[in-house]
Symmetry: C2
Amino acid sequence: MAGSRSGPNMTQIAKVVGVSSATVSNALSGKGRVSPKLVEKIRATAAELGYVPSNAGRALRTGRSNVLGLVLPDISNPLFPQIAQAMEVAASNAGYGVLIADSRGDVTTQTQAIARLIERGVDGLVVIPRRGTRIGSVACPVAMVDTPSTPGNTVSADHWEGGQQVIRHLKELGHHNFLFVGHDPASNVQNDRIGGMKSVLAPGDKHQTIWIESLLAGTPDQTSLGLLDHVKNGVTAIAAVSDLHALRVLTELQTAGIKVPEQVSVTGFDDLVFSPVVTPALTTVHMNMTRIAEIAIAALIKDIEAPRASPDDPDTSNYKTGSTDQNTVKADTSKVSMQLVVRGSCAPAVPSATPSPNGETL
Amino acid sequence: MAGSRSGPNMTQIAKVVGVSSATVSNALSGKGRVSPKLVEKIRATAAELGYVPSNAGRALRTGRSNVLGLVLPDISNPLFPQIAQAMEVAASNAGYGVLIADSRGDVTTQTQAIARLIERGVDGLVVIPRRGTRIGSVACPVAMVDTPSTPGNTVSADHWEGGQQVIRHLKELGHHNFLFVGHDPASNVQNDRIGGMKSVLAPGDKHQTIWIESLLAGTPDQTSLGLLDHVKNGVTAIAAVSDLHALRVLTELQTAGIKVPEQVSVTGFDDLVFSPVVTPALTTVHMNMTRIAEIAIAALIKDIEAPRASPDDPDTSNYKTGSTDQNTVKADTSKVSMQLVVRGSCAPAVPSATPSPNGETL
DNA sequence: CTGAAAGCGCTTACAG
DNA sequence: CTGAAAGCGCTTACAG
């Protein structure tokens, strides 16, 4: 009874066709050394019998599961769907399955999640680390997806450049007084985005940054960000590090009776689902997740397959079996550039958006 | 070289301890028949050697992979993070891993995704079907998560009841003229939500339903829903089938200069990430995903384990091996009730929310 | 071009 | 309480 399967196995196909199971294996895998007509016959029989290869058998024999693990910092992140979908597609195209693990924002959980994944025999790991966390030694190749400024990172969007694009756009519209809205000052990604924004400011430009987490620590979600004061002080453009915060800004402004984009321009990041459908639609920065996933998966697979594939070419791989050190895929970080998506939430700066005390304009 | 692993296997532990691998297996699995002191010694040695059990070996022998497949209709659905996270936690607690597959909104892809999962040897499948799709015969137990009105469904939130809660709340606030906003008239979930809403209307209440997909077919995302007209015609409360649409409604209203909730109340569904942070925060209906996932996974596991566990108790399982028919876990659908979350987007109806022509109030 | 044989790591009757 | 043996399904040198 043990290990019995519903469908037929190679031995049964072999019996039906009248050949050995080795030949069936070779025919099905297309590794040649079988006559075309036999291949044909074996394939037909397999299909007819509804043969489904056993992953367990293959994995045990080859030492590979053809499954990759995806470790996410926080599955409830609104960007997660995009990430998971892109990874699933990229892995699937390369013949790999994706096992997910949520580290729930916690470093300990992240470690446990990785351990569980390893036990399940994954061939490699894609890790989206929690805020600049470093991954300790892991018994399989790892691809890290983070911001370029994180050391040991494999691939990421160029958040810095994305920030630059946002501000360049706003400056072209005549804005010179900015408010940057971040959430968590410990986030590398957010710092890179804001860093990029600041990097293209001209000497005369004004700017200020607020961090929601610090600002609102302990208060309920609904608390105001105090945007009205900033606007009164002359801010004409508010650039957030995420569409989620841009949305918060937008609705707070609208509720306060400030017109967006007529009086104040608002921008976000990430092109989340809701961004195109709100009024005004959010101008944001889109990240090519498909591309990022492809690069991450490709790097991983190269590493997984290299050691066995070509032992005569050791340079191909930087994965050190048994090493207690980093075996993260260490190729220089690939930066995937981000793309500005211009929608309706920005408009030319009006010379005096601030109601000047005496009412005169300019 | 083939199948070589980094760590030690049972045979090696057996050699070190000086017993047979069978004893190691028994000791580690805790299946008894091994003296306590030997168990102790074996465990210690295993830990010391850094033994990690091979899933492949176990799977091949037992015929079980301890991996479940999660088939999603559309990973980009904003509710997906909640679903995936809940499923991952529930499965993980039960000792199972979760392999994801995105059917990308397509029925064909859904079928392929299921096939791929089966090939990878999953023991069972959790399927969130695409709009009332039925799943054909599958070679493993399946738990369907949909709305109670979908036949063959295993567990779901009680969307109908959720709709009732929304309208009861709005009626308590004095509203009698409603606009229901759906997206896709073919969605069972959305129809159930709106059905529940309508079911608690009183004879004198007015209501109308608009379906975004039909209304906006072919037009760009940013197109207006024409809400202003409805408000002018007396609508004082707009209930959407999702927070995503409620958000769209909210921002469209705000941009048009209509105050929410003072002039018009707005409600959503699903308690998405952004709902608590927009202004006004969205009153919505929360779904206990954790509970739903637990029920789905429990049903699945019962089915997976029953046939082998107790062949003397056939009633325990309704999974028919080799049957060409439905092998969906067929227990009567468990309905998990939804919970109204009252936040700031609703207010008492004002007798005359419509700006009366001559400007007088009341 | 094809087959016999070994073995990946585990678990489970069975015998002692 | 412990061990020898078989076998889950596959692939890969190796021999013919």
